[in-house]
Amino acid sequence: MTADPYARLDAAYLLGALDADERLAYEAHLATCRRCRASLAEISAIPPLLAGLDESVFAAPPEADPDASP
């Protein structure tokens, strides 16, 4: 039973979606919670990979395997 209310906030934080109060509270929590820092670090490299993609790739399921290049 994980009761850490911050445990699921990393993605919304990384994506800049938290409101100011929640963001500040989360950042303060990060300073004291190793687990949340580790959790955040797990996915921090992912959002930048989405840069420059067309919105259509989110809307319609793209073919999973365009061409299985060698």
């Binding site: 993605a11 930048p48 990979l49 793209p62 073919e63 999973a64 365009p66």
Partner: protein, 86 residues
């Protein structure tokens, strides 16, 4: 050579220290559920706040947060799996 997918493809650095093409990222997105893609579209592509995304998607703000949490992890996993295969 297919022209139909992404026109501008670029390599980007990645979680696992390899180079990830946007082709691979698009393919990885294709492995997510539509719900996960929806929440990423709202939060990342449209730059919505949690509250705005909750409104747009018709779900609770807490659901937006947890869905984003799982969506980024699913995406990371898919990228790693596809990266291994390539």
């Amino acid at each position: 050579m297919h022209e139909d997918e992404q026109n501008q493809c670029c390599d980007r650095g990645d979680a696992t220290g390899q180079v990830v093409s946007c082709h691979l990222v698009v393919a990885a997105l294709g492995r997510l559920t539509q719900e996960h893609r929806d929440v990423l579209r709202e939060l990342y592509f449209r730059g919505s706040s949690v509250a705005q995304a909750a409104h747009a998607l018709g779900i609770a703000p807490g659901t937006v947060k947890s869905r984003a949490y799982y969506a980024l992890r699913a995406l990371r996993l898919a990228i790693e799996e596809l990266g291994d295969v390539e």
